[in-house]
Amino acid sequence: MTDMKPLLFGTVMLALSTSQAAAEEVLLTLTGAVAGGQVELTQADLDELEWHEIATSTTVTDGRPVFRGVLMRDILDHAQASGDIVTARALNDYVIDIPMDDFHAFDVIAALYMDGIALTPRDKGPVWIVYPRDDHTVLADIRYDMRWVWQLTALHVQ
């Protein structure tokens, strides 16, 4: 726990050090069957949710990076989403349908940090959907690998 404090402190400082404008910049836009038909989430909104860490191997990196972010189901609950399918859209217009069940069966997170470094659009950020691939053998499959959307910008619930 003593190790956690500096880490948390560091994260908070990092978040505070970014400009006020950055904190209010919209990271994720939820549409479809959500509260009011559209919910926009900023960094500040995500900061209010509970944060989680997943250490997992990925198909596009070596080793087992540690990802930090918010549970996808928490984000969807926050937006009062109700539906069976979530259509995820990335900056480069990559689109894929993800069953809502995934987020309840597994602790899937919307990661904003990899190995303590904030994800940026020049890498795979600002948001990367990360599955706990090493915790469930069923997830080591191309059908799930395709749902690891990086540069995530929008979720459409239906």
């Binding site: 198909t59 596009v60 990196t61 900056l91 480069n92 395709m146």
Partner: protein, 438 residues
């Protein structure tokens, strides 16, 4: 089969089992390896990743040409950098390196970063760099695809090899399993044949022993008949000779005496024949006792009377009648036999006692003589057919009397035993199921 052959046979069986199991293990291992490799990983999608990089390069190039907004240019720039970053990540970079396509990729990214529009990079220089980049990417795209298919084909080759190996191992296991089955069936057949042979040999041995015993019995019976029949016949012949001798005719006394001697000899012959016949009937199980409650005292008394032996035999009865569950005719035959022996083998001046009594719910009848008795050896084989005491070979007897008497006793659920009498002589004890009277 000799011992060496057996060893070889077992060694062969063991080797076959090992081969069979070993091949199955190989097959299982290969199938597991195939199963583990039957997975599509995202790194096998390099053609798509490379294509995406190309598209982002073209999009940035288009944004720069169309005088798009700076935020749009920045977005396209970020996306292109992210794709180049992705190509430089571990698995993708290894793929490119192994394909010999990695050269320059790093240079393009570094060149791009130097012209970052967010930091005031020169748009014209950026456009020229991106154009060159997209041309280079276009040239490499087909190589990436070719490399990708090659990797996929090699992987399939590997899987096919494992699969064929597993198949070969299974076929091998099938063949060795079949050989094993043939060997085991053959072994079972040999064992069965050996068992049948052994049983047949045992039966032959048993038949031989029986046949020998029968043959020995016939031989002794032949001797016996020769002896026991000859003696009375010689007596009769001698008597007839005396009566028909030339010269002075015999007196009536002599005739009567010779007639008595002849009749006794005939009686002995009849008795001998009767005993042999009864023995034969007992042997083939044709004698069925008619069991009922009878007074053993009375049967004993009748037997003594019939032998006209009242002078030498004393019947010593107790206070209560001894009731036996028996067949009176057979019991009478037994007692007559025992009394006949006692009379024959003991001196004429010694008393023979007959004692009916109860012991342990059995009705007994002891016949005690004061003759020379029997040696332990004689006692041991007294009940064998045709056994005769060595000292009494010259006395009349068949050697069937005691065995017959015991047979008859046992037929009635009883027994016959012999034991020496204290002070000399023999005690023959007939025991029969008794009925205790109140």
């Amino acid at each position: 089969m000799n011992r060496m052959g057996v060893h070889w046979r077992y060694a062969g069986l063991g080797a076959l089992i090992v081969v069979c199991l070993g091949l199955l293990v190989v097959a299982a291992a290969n199938i597991i390896r195939v199963e583990q490799q039957m997975q599509i990983s995202a790194t096998q999608n390099m053609t798509w990743i490379f294509g995406q990089t190309q598209i982002e390069a073209l999009s940035l190039s288009a944004a720069l040409s169309n005088d798009a907004s700076s935020s749009e240019v920045l977005l396209r720039y970020d996306l292109l950098v992210s794709r180049l970053n992705l190509l430089q990540d571990g698995p993708q970079w290894r793929f490119l390196s192994e394909a010999g396509l990695a050269d320059g990729v790093m240079g393009w990214r570094d060149g791009l970063l130097r012209l970052d529009p967010a930091e005031g990079g020169d748009p014209a220089a950026l456009k020229a760099h991106v154009t060159a980049l997209s041309t280079a990417l276009r040239q490499k795209a087909s190589q990436v695809m070719s490399r990708e298919w090659q990797v996929q084909s090699e992987r399939l080759d590997q899987l096919r090899k494992l699969d064929l190996l597993a198949l070969a191992a299974i076929i091998g296991a099938l063949i060795s399993g079949a050989a094993l089955a043939v060997l085991l069936v053959d072994r079972e057949r040999r064992l069965m044949r050996a068992r049948v042979d052994r049983l047949r040999a045992e039966r032959l041995q048993r038949d031989l022993i029986l046949e020998r015993a029968a043959s020995e019995g016939y031989r002794r019976f032949g001797d016996l008949i020769a002896h026991q029949v000859r003696t009375p016949l010689a007596v009769i012949d001698s008597a007839m000779h005396r009566l028909t001798r030339s010269g002075k005719p015999p007196t009536p006394e002599v005739i009567r005496a010779k007639a008595d001697v002849s009749r006794q000899a005939v009686a002995r012959l009849i008795r001998l024949t009767d005993t042999a016949l009864l023995m034969a009937r007992v042997d083939r199980g044709a004698v069925a006792p008619e069991l009922a409650c009878h007074d053993l005292d009375r049967i004993a008394a009748t037997a003594i009377e019939e032998l006209q032996a009242g002078r030498r035999v004393t019947l010593r009865t107790g206070n209560h009648p001894v009731i036996a569950i028996c067949d009176p005719v057979l019991t009478s035959e037994i007692l007559a036999n025992l009394l006949g022996n006692a009379l024959l083998y003991s001196p004429p001046d010694r008393e023979i006692a007959v004692r009916p009594l109860y012991s342990d719910d059995m009705a007994m009848c002891d016949v005690c003589d004061q003759g020379s008795g029997m040696t332990p050896e004689e006692l041991a084989c007294a009940f064998d057919n045709f056994a005769r005491g060595a000292r009494h070979r010259d006395l009349p007897g068949t050697g069937l009397g005691l065995p017959l008497a015991r047979h008859l006793a046992r037929l009635q659920g009883g027994d016959l035993t012999l034991r020496p009498r204290e002070g000399g002589g023999l005690i023959a004890r007939l025991s029969l199921p008794g009925k205790v009277t109140a």
